[in-house]
């Protein structure tokens, strides 16, 4: 119903070099913007990214969240020849000495840019609690709602692009949010990738009419806002301002994935499905300076008929993650973008009576690449059966500390909860120096 948008090549270019970036649509939008008092010059200024920071190896993080708890043995840590090794055959990868299951050919091809941690360990075996811990670094407490890593990174590092949200979550329905940091640092959530600009587009009215609405709003709002100057009232107004800003921002085209023909070949490579498209959007968002993107891929809670299910899941994960790495590398972005792929725990080496594997936090694996991570490297290993870490065990806290180290964040710093309780950014954990290049 909304105003049709010009498509394809008439759109602005992605990089911002001033004049050439202004398409007809952008000019029109800039015109529409003038009613909010923002000039074209301001528009241009808003897209300039902050320069790289000296301490940091990494600017952005993409978390590929495999919800349900993926089986480490059938993904990152194959155990060929073991009685509990499962049916998948291992294949060689572009990284010397690293093997992956046969259903991961694209990732295998790009493994030379990536690292694996095969000695992850934790204690939480329930989905909700483990998901919370992997996102926040803390076990859930009834009394404190901890912020997720994405929120902490945005709080600590700030925005790289003022125009768009710094933390975006795509898919899933259990996003862990900003906790006590407040909704200012909460993820901007995209539920349906095919309708990602849902509330950014005008609801079937034109810019003129929207301008009239805002003018009326200004009049209606006057009395109340002059009488009540509570911080909450003020804050509520700033969210409106930022919302309108986002509607007209050039950078919002990162969300307009279905309106950009240039992405068609990438969508084909990543996989023409919700997950593939989400991963393409993740790359676009990072290109625009988004700090933290979380993409969800569910279906890993494989208690029954595990191997059929995992093979299906890998058919979506492999092309999307493999091509994302290849793509980021080709665009020179992998150096400063960390890609982490993990779930909340691993799964039992023992195969149960229903041909499935059950929850297993004691030993699992995490994929990690880019943003200063060593290339073609495996950190730690599990024992022969994949039942426990054999050397260099890595805790969730260690993983978070490593992420902070790469981003140039001091993980020992404390945030204060509204109740006045100091909470460290990383609770317990030390950076795994060996993982960093």
């Amino acid at each position: 119903m909304s105003k049709p948008m010009p498509t394809g090549t008439s759109r602005g270019t992605i990089d911002c070099d001033g004049k050439s970036g202004l398409s007809r649509r952008n000019l029109f939008k800039a015109g529409a913007f003038s009613f909010l008092g923002l000039s074209v010059a301001d528009l241009m200024r808003a897209t300039v990214l902050a320069g790289p920071n000296d301490v940091a190896r990494c600017d952005s993080v993409i978390l590929v969240w495999l919800s349900g708890g993926p089986s480490h043995i059938d993904t990152w840590d194959p155990k060929p020849g073991q009685p509990t090794g499962g049916p998948f055959k291992p294949i060689d990868t572009s990284a010397t000495g690293i093997q992956l299951p046969e259903h991961m050919p694209t990732i295998a091809r790009n493994m030379k840019h990536c690292a694996l941690i095969r000695s992850m360990t934790s204690k939480e075996g329930s989905h909700e609690r483990a998901t919370y811990e992997m996102h926040t670094g803390f076990k859930p407490l009834g009394s404190i709602s901890h912020p997720s890593m994405g929120s902490l990174i945005v709080q600590q590092k700030g925005k790289r692009n003022e125009e768009i949200p710094a933390y975006v979550a795509i898919g899933g329905n259990q996003a862990v949010g900003a906790g006590f940091l407040g909704s200012q640092f909460a993820p901007y959530y995209i539920g349906d990738i095919n309708n990602a600009t849902r509330n950014l587009d005008l609801p079937g009215i034109d810019d003129e009419r929207f301008k009239r609405r805002v003018d009326i709003l200004k009049a209606v709002d006057k009395e109340f806002s002059s009488q009540n100057r509570d911080p909450e009232v003020k804050e509520y107004g700033t969210f409106y301002r930022d919302a309108v800003k986002l509607m007209y921002a050039r950078s919002r085209e990162a969300f307009d994935i279905n309106r950009d023909d240039r992405e068609l070949p990438y969508i084909k490579n990543y996989g023409d499905n919700s997950f593939g498209r989400s991963m393409v959007m993740a790359r676009r968002l990072v290109e625009k300076g988004v700090r933290f993107v979380e993409v969800n891929l569910g279906g890993w809670d494989t208690h029954q008929n595990a191997f059929t299910a995992i093979e299906n899941n890998l058919q979506r994960l492999d092309p999307a993650l493999g091509n994302l790495i290849e793509d980021l590398h080709a665009r020179g972005l992998l150096k400063r973008t960390m890609v982490i792929c993990t779930g909340e725990f691993g799964r039992t080496p023992k195969i149960n009576a229903q041909d499935g594997r059950d929850h297993y936090p004691k030993c699992f694996s995490t994929f990690i690449a880019g943003g200063g991570i060593k290339e073609g490297y495996v950190h730690g290993c599990s024992d022969a059966g994949g039942t426990e870490p054999k050397d260099n065990p890595v805790t969730i806290g260690d993983l978070h500390a490593t992420m902070c180290e790469a981003l140039g964040i001091d993980g020992t710093k404390e945030n204060m909860t509204p109740q006045g309780r100091p909470i460290r950014i990383v609770d317990k954990g030390t950076p795994v120096k060996a993982l960093l290049a």
Partner: protein, 676 residues
Amino acid sequence: MPCRTLLKQKRTLADSTKGTEIMIRSQLRLFAPLLGLVLLAAALSVVASIDYSSLRAAAEPAATGVRNFPIKNPIDKFILQRLQEDKIETSGLCSDEEFLRRAYLDVCGVIPSRAQTKEFLADRSSDKRAKLIDKLLKSERYADHWAVLWGDLLREHTNSRPQEGTERGSYREWLQSALRRNLPYDQFVKELLTSTGSSDDNAAVNFFLRDSESRVETVNTIANIFMGTRLSCAQCHDHPFDKWQQTDFHGMMAFFGRTVVGPDPVATLLRVEQAKRLPEEARKLLEPHFKEAHEMAAKEKEKLKSELASGGGGMGMGMMGAMAGMGKGRDAMREIEKSLTPQMAQQVRQVFQQNQVRQVLDKPLGEYKMPSEGDSQDKKKKGGDIVQPTFPWDLSKKVPATGSRRVALAEFLVTNRQFAQVQVNRLWAQLMGRGIVDPVDDFRAKNPPTHPELLDYLADEFVKNKFDNHHILRLILNSSAYQRSSVPTMNNRSDTTNYSHQKLRRLTAEQMFDSILVATGREKGLAGTPTGDIAGRIKERVAPRDAGVQWASDLPTPARTGTFLNTFNQPTREETIVKRDDSGSIPQALEMLNGQAINNAVKNSPLVKELADSKLHPNQIACELYLSVLSRNPSNTEMSTAATILNRAADAKEKREIIEDLMWAMLNAREFAFVK
């Protein structure tokens, strides 16, 4: 060491202030041209020019002390005392318009309709506020609204997640029904704590089903919401900064040492029999078991329960045993699965899983054992020493040797002083924006009440009046303290704990949702909200309802991520929420600006149609819109502004669009989003 911690805290605070400053500065640079717009005006209003309201207050002769403070009941006496001691003046009483909207939102969770507003404003009787309070407490919406609060506290889910019980809406229904009947609060808690059976017999068992077999969260919930105590730390170690010890936590656990949550095989089989997804082949094989279930169901329920309770006397047979995980039954299940294809067997398993009914029972014997360290399943099973039930808030309470431990616990709770204090404090916080003890779940020596006498008075009244929630609500709602304006004066601006002026409070997700329905005069639920079986089931089971209206309280919880209710901070109900997150966000603003729900509500608003088709003068159209959306008459300026815009309409189509835009703007105004 403490000094170092303090220093560190100071530094962190300084850092964060600096950060904010930098952020504000950079935002100012980028958006300076935007500042003319009122959407932003607030951001700068710290330095803004003249505060008319405080000037007005200062000009009045009574400004040197407390003014406009009729003592309506003892609440006002306690509040006044503190205000006088601290030399804080009060804001005036709120207007009828403000009172009406505030009372509707606080008691019923929704703004008044245009007709209700007109009726109240036209009423000339002097006791009309008191009469309205009585009317609202009796209304159906009262139960709907307060069931949302209890849903947050008890983590009520309507999702069909059999492993967590909460049987598709039956918990909600139970809560709403208890509130509608104004079930005395001690009874309410007793019924939850001592419930047995399946949710089909007694939906109060959802209190236990919610957490399946584990009683850890049950203990946390009881401590937290009934006793205002944060006991959860003591599960694993003595509380770091409160008096609670690990033995307190596990003493509480021991009250549930004999409580079992398990499958209700009869009810499950009866449901499976009705399941459409059950393959025909399996149905044939299961036929004798269905028959058996029907026979069992026909037997006296109590008898069956006692058989089950005594360790499964009647449980050797068929499918029922299978669901109870017992030998013979499990074999029968295997036999059936063998004669099916693996795919079909899987489907049968799923059907059983999806239709599983669970029940809560007490075994006559059994002890709770201290969980031992380590992760090994063997160690867990063996457990540590036997722990006897102890009541942490009064260790002198002795559990009788015979009889239900849960009944004993319920009795200890409802006769404890703090139990009454916690509930009146919760009711106070709901209406006043802050607890006398705040946060409301943190009663302890180092967090004393701001008004101890008031807390005592309310608790006394509560106990004297048989735990009547309405009695306490009526006292608060009728007090001058509640009926104060939310506009601060120069003198009381910084007061946050003395109730010199009402606290502005954000509407909750459900209040927003329902109020948009009323404001636009809509008959049905907002577009883009989930409907379907679950909502239908709740709706059908909760009767009688206002015809056709689908309130937020009829919808499944928790709402899916990205829906209206979720965007406006409806909690996931995974953890107990004693206070909603009331912060705003960009997605909230976008939902209000461009969202499908709000724009369809405006586009299809019966009120818009009525006004567009009418021959009313633009001034009158403005009045009707203000009355319907903001529950008040417009000021002269507001009326003439609206009329001027309406007069610009070139034709009927444009007139209608302008009316839509006026309504849209009022819904988006900040005034709409706050209880003022």
